[in-house]
Amino acid sequence: MNETFVISLLLGSLAAMVPIALTSIGAVISERAGVVNIGYEGILMLSAFFGAIFAELANNGWVGLLGGALTGLVIGMIHGVITVYLKGDHVIPGIGINLIGYGGVAFGILAYWGTAGQHQVAPSAQIKPLWMDAFGNSLSPMVPITIAIAFIAWWMLFKTPFGLRIRAVGENPEAADALGINVELYRFTAVLIASALAGVAGAYLSVDWLGTVTKTIAAGRGFIALANMVFSGWNPIIALGGAFLFGFFDNFAIYIQNNPWLAGTIPWQFIATLPYVVTLVVVAGIIGRARPPKWDGRPYKRE
């Protein structure tokens, strides 16, 4: 284990942290307001695709991130209208959105770029790294931005009246309603913030980190983000740390795969299951206790 390896593992983990952290932070905000969404995987897929299109049209990676956020917003509106305003089930729309995401991106890559399975995003349309070394290790500006977003989200949720209301409509919407808080509006807003953050995360995959759009680009990160949200106990700052751990395990599993001596001793698949096992242990209350907001996933209808 040498210095170069440690640096590349650290930078790799930070790069992998960004999409999981952004999506988890969004999911924390949405569930704090009482709205469950398991469609982040589909949002990541579609915003990676549309983000790349925006970026190439404008020849600017930041416009790509904006395009991703807009894609997320549109999907969030669909989810929000069904769950918040029509009082529908919170889990079912996400299942549909994930299917649309996987089908739509595979379809879209062929329909829009005419290539099968993957499209390389033009280098000029990608976000430039803050720092880069001779070995290809780099640091994206999205890393400090994500860290900042985690702290801002925490401050917003726990230190501002807006955050207090978001938590109130997720914990006890009846009481919030009695105090004159517009439950539906706050829930809908929280869903939109969450979907936009997941949208940025998706675009980050294509116009920054991976620099390509593939038909499996989200690779389960939308679900990992949900696991991480539970792991964090619905706290944005812990979600940031959790995302780093998930990113680290991800890189570590790849390292083991490429290391013949280690690969012979521990199957890399065992390392890959660790984050999920740890999350289960946390949720089961064996170490710590993760409790969801009281009205999480339940539609609120005024009596």
Binding site: I82, G96, Y102, F107, L226
Partner: protein, 347 residues
């Protein structure tokens, strides 16, 4: 309840599902048109490819087989008030179990029983976490699906790998394979087994005491408890039966599909059925008999996609249509949104 009343109760959910399917087809056509494809030609090929000939229809039924079984997993959960999306993992292990046991016992029944047993066993931890620790099943089953994926990949690649063919596991020996129903197709006895399973589950859920307990605790677990039903027991059974049908799906998927009769690399031929089954169950209104038809519909989409691809439309378009159907199903009172203006027009 008379038979007529029971029939009437089915009309509304049927109408809602048909409407959702129409919306899926319509929006799918719009997407195709916007992307510059010929939607009419694509849909013609889709129907031709799934129902156009005996061979194509056999393919449709073959593709529907695992979907019917994983949909039942979800449906039993939903009827018990659970959101069990863990069928995916149980499918992998059902397939591995069938491959493992048939190496020594060359009998299809052994494979089927192994699939049922391992499927139920894999679902138990999620059941125990739910019942005794209050862990929400959506979260635990998502975790278990990932754990299953990595463990099953390892088992397939390292433990049961085929030394003659590194791209797959050991094949199911000929003595344990299920007979084909239509020559030169992939339709085997597996489809019949899936349909029988659906009917058996229907009988259990609607005509036995256990089924009554499951459904009652699903409707209102407190009222059920007051009425002398143990909702914890009901939940455990719901996970166990659901795990069995998902495990069976995996076993049948390797025992009944020529030519490989094995699990391919990356679990490709057993991957995704647990997720797709959720959609099938929703369109089938979480009812075993509705699921048979919804399963055939989704099977038809998957079978017809191959021919549709020849008109230039990417295969994955059918996933988009499926996704839109599910989002449409999720809209509460979908039928009323359409029927109300109609009724007003009449008056």
């Amino acid at each position: 309840m008379t038979a007529l009343e029971e029939l009437k109760g089915y009309i509304r959910p049927l109408g809602e599902s048909v409407l959702a399917i129409l919306i899926g087809a319509l929006i799918g056509a719009i997407v195709l048109w916007l992307s510059g494809y010929n939607a009419v030609a694509a849909y013609k090929a889709l129907i031709q490819g799934s129902f156009g000939s005996l061979g194509n229809f056999a393919e449709t039924l073959s593709k529907s087989t695992p979907l019917i079984l994983t949909a039942i997993t979800f449906a039993i959960g939903a009827r018990t008030g659970l959101f069990n999306i863990g069928a995916e993992g149980a499918v992998y292990f059902g397939a591995i179990a069938a491959v493992a046991i048939t190496q020594s016992i060359q009998n299809p029944l052994a494979g089927i029983l192994a699939g049922l047993f391992i499927g139920a066993l894999w679902m138990l931890p999620a059941a125990v976490l739910k019942v005794y620790r209050g862990v929400h099943e959506v979260i635990s089953t998502i975790m278990f699906n990932w754990i299953a994926f990595y463990l099953a990949s390892w088992l397939a690649l390292q433990v049961f790998e085929n030394p003659m063919n590194p791209n797959s596991t050991l094949p199911i020996p000929p003595g344990a394979r299920l007979p084909l129903l239509v020559k030169n197709s992939t339709l085997s006895l597996a489809f019949v087994i899936a349909v029988i399973t659906a009917v058996v589950v229907y009988v259990i859920m609607w005509h036995t005491k256990l089924g009554y307990e499951l459904r009652t605790s699903g409707l209102n677990s407190r009222a059920a408890e007051y009425g002398g039903i143990n909702p914890r027991k009901a939940m455990l059974w719901s996970f166990i039966i659901g795990g069995m049908t998902a495990g069976l799906a995996g076993a049948l998927q390797v025992m009944g599909i020529p030519p490989s009769y094995s699990i391919s690399q990356g679990l490709a031929n057993v991957y995704g059925y647990g997720f797709d089954g959720i959609g099938v169950s929703l369109v089938g209104r979480n009812h075993p008999l509705g699921i048979i038809f919804a399963g055939i519909l989704f099977g038809a989409l998957n079978a017809g996609a191959t021919l549709m691809q020849q008109t230039g439309v990417p295969l994955e378009m059918v996933k988009v249509i499926e996704g839109i159907i599910i989002v449409a199903v999720a809209v509460p009172g979908l039928l009323d949104l359409f029927l109300k203006p109609l009724r007003r027009g009449k008056a």
